[in-house]
């Protein structure tokens, strides 16, 4: 919550003073105040605050209109409506305009603090996910391969040759991770590598491609499951769960990694190489 930069939009200097006092008491920095819509838009564009408290009645417009306009310029800023009026119709309009929470005046200090904490908890959590997902997956894949196939296991950072796409080596698996934020794991290897691995693990040379596909599906599922458990252990609020794997087989398939925040690795083992991509994406904030 600390270091959040706030702008107060309210046509009443009294309300502005009350809100400022509450926000500053909680350690937030009030970087601007605006008494009308025009002023609010100009200041927000320039200052790009993290949070805006928005009154619903403004001399040159209303809070809904003002929020909608503001969010065109400051997409990352979160807006909390603070108004004496509150009914279902206006709440619905506020939601549609992109406002994240609605508080009724007179606002009590605890209520305001709780709303802000809830609103920004997702941000902090996403930061934790971004800082830790790479390690969690590397650890998960390393532990599995070391114990199941043994030998040398190395993970090297890998740069995709073409931006955002990967040409499949033959067999790929995609597993989704779903929780407060989202993610996806892709593992891709040649059918030969998959076959080598399943033969080694089961100590059975008669394994077929069909069985190798089953192995790869389960392998990816375990990697994702273990990594998600590690992450959930860091913070229970992640609530990450793994969706069933989809195995993709074919000679000429391109996988689109998309524009999510992701990292790619080449997993090197004695039995062959495998490509791994892990991506994370911020989950939607629900209405508070």
């Amino acid at each position: 919550m600390k270091n959040l930069r706030v702008m107060i939009v309210d046509d009443s200097t009294f309300s502005t003073a009350v809100l400022r006092k509450m926000l500053e008491k909680d350690g937030l920095e009030v970087v601007a105040t605006a008494l009308n819509m025009k002023d609010a838009i100009e200041k927000a564009k320039e200052i790009k605050p993290d949070l805006i408290t928005m009154d619903m009645t403004l001399p040159d417009g209303n809070g809904i209109e003002c929020s909608r306009e503001l969010l065109k310029y400051v997409k990352e800023t979160k807006i909390i409506a603070v108004s004496s009026m509150m009914d279902e119709e206006i709440i619905e309009k506020a939601k549609n305009a992109g406002i994240k929470a609605y508080l009724q005046k007179p606002v009590d200090s605890d209520g305001l603090k709780a709303a802000i904490e809830k609103l920004f908890a997702g941000e902090e959590l996403y930061q934790i996910l971004q800082d830790n997902y790479e390690e969690a997956f590397k650890e998960s894949v390393f532990t599995f391969l070391k114990s199941e196939i043994g030998g040398e296991v190395e993970l090297e950072n890998y740069q995709l040759k073409y931006k955002g796409v990967r040409k499949s080596s033959g067999v790929s698996v995609a597993v989704g991770m779903i929780g407060r934020h989202k993610g996806r794991l892709i593992i891709d290897m040649s059918s030969n590598t998959a076959l080598n691995m399943v033969k080694k693990i089961l100590q059975d040379e008669s394994q077929t491609l069909e069985e190798a596909i089953q192995f790869l599906s389960e392998f990816t599922n375990v990697i994702a499951g273990n990594a998600c458990s590690l992450l959930n252990g860091l913070n229970r609020s992640f609530g990450l769960r793994v969706s069933p794997p989809t195995v993709i087989v074919g000679e000429d398939i391109t996988i689109s990694i998309g524009d999510m925040d992701s990292k790619s690795f080449m997993i090197k083992t004695d039995l062959g190489e495998a490509f791994m991509n892990i991506g994370v994406q911020k989950g939607d904030e629900s209405w508070i």
């Binding site: 989704g176 779903i178 391109t254 996988i255 998309g258």
Partner: protein, 152 residues
């Protein structure tokens, strides 16, 4: 054939596609598959978890995918399936699946969806490892779109 898992997706298509300006939307027949789907063109798959667990797969041929991307991008010509077109199609699959989730929740079934994974190529074999995959085909302004749902 039990259609209760696919109906929320049909309703999603009927609700979402016209909003993008698609003119004609004809629902064709259902089909049943087991474990595997083979498709060529563009395939988008999303994971589903919650009260039901599984996957949904959207299949469109390459030309159809470009046309859909073009309509979604306000008629901008789409010569090849570039980043922008891929992103538009992923977003469409996201919207359709999210809408289907809302439809599920009306029946007190709560599910969440993963980010979409988009693939393209020829003879793509998808193993969903579910005995029963229910598919429905749509004709969207002359473009064939198939939705396959494997949910338990």
């Amino acid at each position: 054939m039990d259609l209760k898992n696919i109906n929320p997706f049909i309703d999603a298509v009927t609700e979402i596609l016209p909003q993008f300006g698609f003119q004609s939307l004809i629902q064709k027949g259902f089909s049943e598959k087991s474990k595997k789907i083979i498709a060529s063109g563009v395939v988008i798959t999303l994971g589903i978890v919650g009260d039901k667990k599984g996957n949904v797969v959207y299949c469109i041929n390459q030309e159809g995918a470009k046309q859909i991307a073009s309509i979604m991008m306000m008629g901008m010509p789409v010569e090849e399936l570039d980043d922008m077109a891929q992103s538009a199609l992923s977003e469409l699959s996201n919207m359709l699946t999210a809408n289907a989730c809302i439809n599920f929740s009306k029946e007190a079934v709560n599910v969440d969806i993963s980010v979409p994974t988009l693939l393209f190529g020829e003879n793509i074999e998808l193993n969903l490892n579910k005995e029963e995959i229910i598919c429905v085909e749509f004709d969207v302004d002359g473009i064939k779109m198939e939705i396959c749902v494997a949910l338990v």
